[in-house]
């Protein structure tokens, strides 16, 4: 038998090593993310300077608008108003949605009974229902909370159902073979195994809830962020209007990011660094 040692010649060349170090920096996740943001914001700034439309401010103008509405306190007040229906609606959707999803995942008859409603709700353009909600519940908090719920709940319910159903058969068999009771199987195997997909449903549901609350504020009665958007649109103060839109987008992204952190720290010990 003959063995030949192959020396790692490539690593020895300094120029190659430097080039690869440069490449490592360039493809670093943080660098790529910053590049991604910079590209979008740059494009925005450029489009605003062309100008694309008189109603489309540049990014920098928008930042000035943002500073103004933040400084006079109107943004903070608006957030507090918008967050109320959002958080109530989202909490209801999460509790009820995950509950119904788990129930359906564990119990076929309830799936047949309940799932069709949410499958239809997910496919239907629910924004079209908002006038009906207004008709039934008026223009107060209830209608707004319900708008958030009908936007957020279907994806939460259906993801939870799918997550519970997707528990690996072999893990269930393993739990049974080690004498797990039904409730032990649910607590120790089914729920932990379903949690990533449940949380991805929660993230999608939260995003939909933000859409729902802004829709409600634009279509039912202008309050909160929706009020800043529609007021500044009506007085043609576009930087402030876009500042409000930008702020709610940033808030939504941060909120969803926070959800992911919570998931990892509570349910996914193996993903912790």
């Amino acid at each position: 038998m003959q063995t030949t040692d192959v020396a790692p010649t490539v690593a020895a060349l300094p120029s190659v090593r430097e080039a690869s170090r440069l490449r490592d920096i360039l493809i670093h996740p943080l660098v790529l993310r910053i590049v991604s943001f910079a590209a979008v914001l740059g494009l925005w700034e450029y489009a605003g300077r062309i100008p694309l439309s008189a109603a489309f401010p540049t990014f920098l103008e928008t930042l000035v608008g943002l500073r103004d509405i933040a400084a006079d306190g109107s943004l903070g007040k608006a957030f507090l108003i918008t967050l109320k229906p959002l958080l109530i609606g989202l909490s209801v959707s999460v509790v009820l949605g995950v509950g119904l999803g788990v129930l359906m995942g564990l119990h076929r008859p309830s799936e047949w009974l309940i799932a069709p409603i949410f499958i239809i709700a997910q496919a239907a353009p629910l924004a079209a229902l908002i006038p009906v909600l207004t008709f039934a519940y008026g223009i107060g908090l209830t209608a707004k909370v319900l708008t958030v719920c009908i936007m957020a709940m279907p994806v939460i319910v259906l993801n939870t159902l799918g997550a519970v159903r997707n528990t690996p058969q072999s893990l269930l068999e393993m739990a049974r073979s080690f004498l797990a009771s039904r409730s032990q199987s649910i607590r120790h195997v089914i729920l932990p195994s379903a949690s990533p997909m449940i949380f991805s449903g929660l993230r999608l549901g939260s995003a939909a809830a933000f859409i729902g609350v802004i829709l409600a504020e634009l279509l039912i009665t202008p309050t909160g962020i929706g009020d800043i958007i529609s007021y500044n649109q009506s007085v043609a103060d576009y930087p402030k209007m876009y500042a409000a839109i930008l702020s709610i987008i940033v808030f939504a992204v941060l909120f969803i990011e926070l959800l992911e952190r919570i998931e990892v720290s509570l349910f996914r010990p193996e993903k912790r660094p």
Binding site: E173, M174, S177, S181, E270
Partner: protein, 273 residues
Amino acid sequence: MSVSHIAPAGTAAPPPAAGTAPRAIVEVRNVTKTYAGGVEALSGISLEFPEGRLTTLLGPSGCGKTTLLKIIAGLIPASGGQVLVDGREVKGPGQERSFVFQDFALMPWASVLRNVAFGLELRGVARSEREAVAERHIARVGLKGFEHKYPHELSGGMRQRVGLARALAVDSKVVMMDEPFSAVDEQTRRKFQEELLELVAKEGKTFLFVTHSIEEAVYVSDRIVLLSRRPSRVSAIIEPKIVRGDDPEKIRRDSAYLDAVEDIWQQLKRYLD
């Protein structure tokens, strides 16, 4: 080597070797299994598994060996006949049996320590106690130092060691292994086979082993049950008389080993298309 051929219609238990045979801890009596849709997997299987030995179920792929093992484990119900373990009829999984899964069936969100201790956790054993037991078995399968790793950080072979440690940790009389080494690479598999021999010799437990590899069956088994193609029957029981000295490598060159492999191959050949 003694080979007892059972007539194709045979439902009788194989004749026990004279005098010295250990008692049968697992008895399979005329077990049949027909799946919904009319697929007949097992057709009147009767078998005894002697205590303290390693018995292998071997047969062409799809012959129902895993089905039979899972019926003995109580994980799937038989369509007819009965299984007795320690004289008691099997109605479901039990304390006296533990299972090692082909795909390891480890909980990805749980550390090695928690996975190994899982059987005891389900039985309500206090944390410090079950972790002490688990640590002992982790060390025993050669994973000391990996207690706080997660399954995705381990190689396939190491994961199956975790699966084995989990089965040993509940200290059952019968350990059932469903093609445990089929998902690990060839070198690791050989190492495993050698360690399994040592384990069987030291533990005094009864091992039920399923494999489709003739060499593996002959190498590790005291007794090999050949199953025919579906619907499966016992076609022969083979007891390779291999002298297992201190050198596990010698076995693979032993003439009894080679003869047994050849003999089984000749018998299984007719089931191939």
